[in-house]
């Protein structure tokens, strides 16, 4: 039962391109068994994130409630609900990496960019995300930068990674 009195509080409306991407993802996945997960992956692949305003059309297409979709999006750390930065750094937080001091790396990003897991730096350069084991335990601590794996990450190495992200020639676009 939606309030009729106050239509306020609606999420940022979808752009035409986003709407089209949603339609494509729905058409591609709606008949798969357990369609929601592949659909969300496909959407995130296309848009870089799952816009909150995409929840109602997805729910409708799959015969789910909006809460169902919201629950799944928030359950998986993989799904973003805000646009990512230009680069995505995924820092492993699982046991081996913890043992090798990944918390210090987390602290370091925090000090340098003022963000923690799930956030994007103010200049739009870096989104920091957590992952749990990259299968690279022998070379922990590990991270993924834009999908590329790096092992034995030290503060210095992390700095170099962040430098290339921040100074990627696209800074001015912001």
């Amino acid at each position: 039962m939606q309030p009729t009195a106050d239509p306020g509080a609606t999420p940022v409306p979808l752009t035409a391109a986003q709407r089209a991407a949603i339609d494509v993802a729905i058409a591609a996945c709606r008949d798969l068994p357990g369609a929601l997960l592949p659909l969300l992956h496909k959407l995130q692949e296309q848009l870089g994130y799952v816009p909150p305003a995409s929840i109602p059309p997805i729910a409708k297409a799959l015969g789910l409630s909006q809460a169902d979709v919201h629950g799944v999006i928030t359950f998986y750390h993989d799904f973003r609900t805000t646009p990512p930065g230009r680069h995505v750094v995924k820092l492993c937080r699982a046991e081996a990496c913890q043992a090798m001091g990944c918390q210090r790396l987390e602290q370091h990003v925090q000090d340098r960019l003022g963000i923690t897991f799930g956030q994007t730096s103010a200049d739009g350069a870096v989104t920091l995300e957590a992952v749990y084991c990259l299968g690279n335990c022998a070379l922990s601590p590990a991270l993924l930068v834009d999908g590329r794996l790096q092992g034995r990450v030290s503060k210095e190495r992390l700095d170099r990674v962040l430098d290339t992200c921040v100074h990627d020639g696209k800074e001015a676009q912001r």
Partner: protein, 958 residues
């Protein structure tokens, strides 16, 4: 306090399962339970309460809290008793030192992340977490309270009736499961995972979510997390009474939980057989109108409707009313006065009003607005099956394999029944929706209709005929059933008629506006189901050809053998709470209680004996006839109990003119309503909380209404009617409504076995209740039809000419929505306005675009009868060419634009499709100086009483 703690056996009843009962030992006590019963429930039967948090007997067990662990001899580990089924010979221990320790440490974890403010918590005294801490003997929390916790989580107060305080949540997910399993809305989810898991109504607040505010989650929550605001304000209730909701025809049973004579909250009654422990936002929360400041508490009179009201005593008001009635009868004749009964009042009150009219006024001028809802059902089902009522109980839907919903919108109008139906659909039953509008059921979370026959308004009969044609011509009829149970000559005639190619989907499909293949597939689905049930609503009965449609429905059900057992049947979904009851009680000008015609001398003799006066053998005036007679000057006084005829009647201006022409209008109501503006005497009514009595719901179930507070104005409605009768020189002698019921039982064959004592014992009774059926009749027509042999009736589809024209291209239909009720006199006076602040006009994007109307624009709708302004809502729920509005707010005057119409077998006011009600309406945008455009819809004006020449002799009900 204990009176408000409801017995909870932990997991649902499994007694319906097949399989031999199981015997096992629990703490040394032998107990035998149905197969599939959980250890927890079996323990409860053995008198042992196993500690629990995530289990409750209204929900399937989940096994997440680990508090209910037990030991089973010969097994390792500590199984959760809520999820472990009983097995023969098991030896179970529910209490050992080890179990005590495990439970205590589980509790410790919970409490380390829970605020310790029990003393100021609204759940104090009725909190399962608090109870369990006591039961497991929690004495210390070794983890301290410093760790990461959720204590600062903000409250969500957006819902007008309940608060969500996540700091108190133990994430047992009872609420999530209640919303899924009981309500079927799926509005809640567990957001995030692990420590971050939190209950959430989707991404926004409760008010912005899909939540329909049914209260099931609040009911299921073991803590104060989901809690009624009224309990925050007033504290925990200390006593309660079982009563019946006064809103819709589902007739849910409630516990009115009280403090003194104040209602703290209404809680759905677990043992209520209409609702099985569920409720909707109206009955559960919207009872505040009962004590609203607008309630009139003093009788009032005035000499003319131009004068202001004058407050007087009951004696003065009654004396004035009586003397006016006698004066008018003296001057204009015995038949110049009449009464209108209410389908909102109790059976006993309705009975008294018609008795007053028949015995004290001395005529049969009594009618009810429920005629609109009831007549086609009454006539159609009586003719074919032999009884004027639905055939099933609500439980029956749980045995249906195919459900047909026709011209009804259960999720809005009969929400609790809709939840049961959706549950069955999720279990695998198939759904066929027959409705011009894409109602929510067609496509909602986890339920989808197999077929939506989106017919053109007014083609109901064509649809039913096409379906029956397919069943007959494709050899899908249950011939043996028909041969054994129906009149064969009639059947043969009907079969010849229905076989005619003019009734084929290929011919009718274009008329209906639906492909022939869809009709064929839907017919096959219905006919081949093991059990198929039809539920229909106002979209059938309020249209012209309403009676014919009902008979066509009955034909189809007989043809396929779908009558006389659980899971099948033909069922009207009644609008108001006591439509069935008020009709049963003799509210019609031609029928005495029990649907017996006034022209029958034996029946008149029976009532005349009992009432001590002769009964007039002439049928009286129906409501429209009363209005016409008022305009002719021959009808001058009207006693209206609990109905707002000036607002709910389709042709408002005609009604107003008629009321203005009368010399004495007596209105008895809770509030000054529209009709009261034309009244000379106002008698304050009493709400359902202020009186004893009974309501009869759509499944013929008679349930008690119990007085929990004294009448605010001093008299209950039945007492006021008695006072009026006495002043008219016809004293009635009842000390309590139970005595009125005794009189009804003595005079009405279907009620002979009904007494208040028996209702108290059984909880509720479905009539017929008599010597043949001493505990009532859940399913009718079991071995044979009530009329003996079922009768097939030829149901010719009569096209309505001049459907729309170029000048008036739109069809206006009206209906209702979930949060508001009927003309809204009650719901508008509650916080339900959060969801529906004003009536809107729904129209399809094509129609909107063609007229330059945008969502939210204000549009004017005009018909021959009048005009009004509504806010436009552009939605794909509508089909192009059809617009829709609700009529809950008098200021919108949605009924102003509709005009009168009659069905050919009964006079039925058409408030759904002005196609037959001649509502020529045009809408124009009303914004700034933009040019206005018109949209018009035109309607044929049907004449009353079958003047279209199709009415066969004997088909008129009167």
């Amino acid at each position: 306090m204990d009176s408000n703690k409801i017995l909870d056996r932990g997991t649902p009843d499994r007694s319906a399962r097949v399989g031999a009962p199981v015997t096992l030992q629990i703490d040394g006590v032998a107990v035998t339970v149905p197969a599939g019963t959980s250890l927890m429930r079996a323990a409860h039967d053995a008198g042992v309460k196993v500690p629990k948090l995530c289990a409750t007997d209204s929900l399937d067990a989940f096994g997440s809290c680990r508090l209910c662990l037990v030991e089973v001899e010969g097994r390792r580990g500590y199984p959760a008793s809520c999820t472990t089924p009983c097995e023969p010979g098991m030896k179970v221990k529910t209490q050992t030192d080890k179990l005590a320790k495990l439970r205590r440490s589980t509790m410790e974890l919970y409490i380390s992340d829970h605020p310790l403010d029990c003393l100021t918590c609204p759940a104090n005294g009725n909190c399962e977490l608090q109870d369990m801490a006591g039961v497991v003997g929690l004495r210390e929390v070794r983890y301290g309270y410093q760790g990461e916790n959720h204590l600062a989580a903000p409250k969500d107060q957006s819902n007008p009736y309940f608060t969500f305080d996540p700091s108190k949540c133990i994430v047992c997910s009872r609420c999530v499961r209640a919303c899924e399993e009981i309500q079927g809305t799926f509005a809640l989810t567990v957001q995030g995972r692990g420590f971050d898991s939190k209950i959430a109504p989707g991404p926004g607040s409760f008010l912005e979510s899909e939540c329909v505010s049914c209260g099931a989650c609040v009911q299921a929550c073991p803590t104060a997390t989901l809690m009624e605001k009224s309990v925050y304000d007033q504290g925990q209730p200390d006593h309660s009474a079982i009563t019946t909701c006064a809103y819709c025809g589902v007739g849910c049973s409630f516990r009115a939980e009280m403090k003194g004579d104040q209602v703290v909250r209404m809680v759905p009654h677990k043992d209520g057989r209409a609702n099985r422990g569920h409720s909707c936002v109206k009955g559960r929360f919207a009872f505040g109108y009962a004590t609203h400041k607008d309630r009139i508490k003093q009788p009032m009179i005035r000499a003319s409707i131009q004068e202001p009201w004058r407050e007087v005593t009951w004696e003065q008001a009654i004396a004035h009313a009586a003397s006016e009635i006698r004066r008018i009868q003296g001057k204009y004749g015995r038949g110049s006065v009449g009464g209108i009964t209410s389908s909102r009042c109790t059976n006993e009150e309705t009975y008294l009003v018609q008795k007053l009219v028949r015995a004290a006024f001395g005529n049969n001028n009594v009618d009810t607005c429920a005629r609109v809802c009831h007549s086609p059902t009454g006539y159609g089902l009586k003719t074919t099956l032999g009884e004027s009522a639905g055939t099933q109980d609500f439980d029956s839907v749980m045995h249906a394999d195919v459900v047909v919903v026709m011209g009804a919108n259960p999720t809005d109008a009969h929400p609790v029944f809709a939840s049961r139906m959706k549950k069955r659909l999720r279990e695998g039953a198939q759904l066929i929706v027959i409705d011009p509008r894409k109602i929510d059921l067609v496509d909602s979370p986890h339920t989808r209709a197999a077929f939506h026959i989106q017919l053109q308004p007014g083609t109901n009969v064509a649809v039913m005929n096409a379906l029956a044609h397919v069943v007959v011509t494709e050899g899908l009829a249950k011939v043996d059933y028909v041969r054994a149970r129906c009149e064969l000559p009639e059947f043969d005639k009907w079969q010849a008629f229905i076989r005619d190619p003019k009734n084929s989907p290929e011919v009718l499909g274009p008329v209906i506006g639906v492909p022939a293949t869809t009709l064929r597939d839907a017919a096959r689905l219905y006919a081949t189901a093991r059990n198929a049930a039809i539920y229909y609503g106002l979209g059938v009965t309020e249209h012209s050809q309403g009676s014919t449609t009902v008979m066509a429905i009955a034909n189809l059900a007989m043809l396929t053998g779908n009558l006389g057992r659980p899971g099948v049947g033909v069922n009207p979904l009644r609008g108001q709470n006591n439509v069935q009851g008020s009709c049963d009680m003799g509210s019609f000008p031609h029928e005495l209680p029990g649907y017996r015609h006034v022209s029958d001398p034996t029946v008149r003799e029976l009532f005349g004996q009992s009432w001590g006066v002769p009964i007039d053998d002439e049928p009286g005036l129906r409501i429209p006839n009363m209005f016409d007679a008022a305009l002719d000057g021959s009808f001058k006084a009207l006693y209206v109990q609990g109905e707002d005829i000036a607002q709910s009647d389709p042709d408002t201006h005609h009604v107003q003119a008629a009321l203005t022409a009368m010399e004495c209008v007596i209105v008895q109501d809770l509030f000054i309503n529209e009709t009261a503006k034309y009244a000379h005497v106002f008698l304050p009514g009493a709400s359902f909380l202020e009186k004893d009595g009974t309501f009869t719901n759509a499944e013929r179930r008679i349930s008690r209404v119990r007085r929990v507070m004294p009448p605010l104005a001093g008299l209950a409605d039945w007492e006021a009617t008695m006072a009026l009768a006495k002043a008219l020189g016809y004293p009635m002698h009842y000390d309590h409504p139970s005595q009125i019921m005794a009189e009804i039982a003595a005079l009405t064959p279907t009620f002979t076995g009904v007494t208040y004592d028996k209702i108290d014992q059984l909880g509720s009774i479905q009539w017929p209740c008599n010597d043949q059926a001493p505990t009532g009749t859940p399913v009718m027509h079991v071995d044979q039809f009530v009329r003996g042999k079922g009768r097939f009736v030829i149901t010719e589809y009569v096209a309505t000419p001049e459907r729309t024209s170029r000048k008036f291209p739109l069809i206006l239909t009206t209906g209702r929505i979930l949060s508001q009720y009927n003309v809204g006199a009650q719901t508008r006076r509650t916080a339900n306005t959060a969801w529906h602040a004003a009536d809107v006009l729904e129209l399809h994007p094509h129609d909107a675009e063609a007229r330059g109307i945008r969502d939210g624009d204000r549009v004017e709708v005009e018909s021959r009868a009048g005009k009004t302004v509504l806010r436009a809502e552009v939605t794909e729920r509508m089909q192009p060419g059809v617009v829709y509005t609700t009529f809950h707010h008098p200021e919108s005057g949605a009924n102003v634009v509709t005009t009168e119409n009659s069905d050919w077998a009964t006079i039925v006011r058409n408030t759904r499709s002005p196609r037959c009600r001649s509502a020529r309406c045009w809408c124009r945008r009303r914004r700034g100086s933009r040019s206005s455009r018109r949209l018009r819809s035109s309607r044929r004006r049907c004449c009353r009483g079958g003047s279209d020449g199709r009415a066969e002799a004997g088909q008129d009900v009167q």
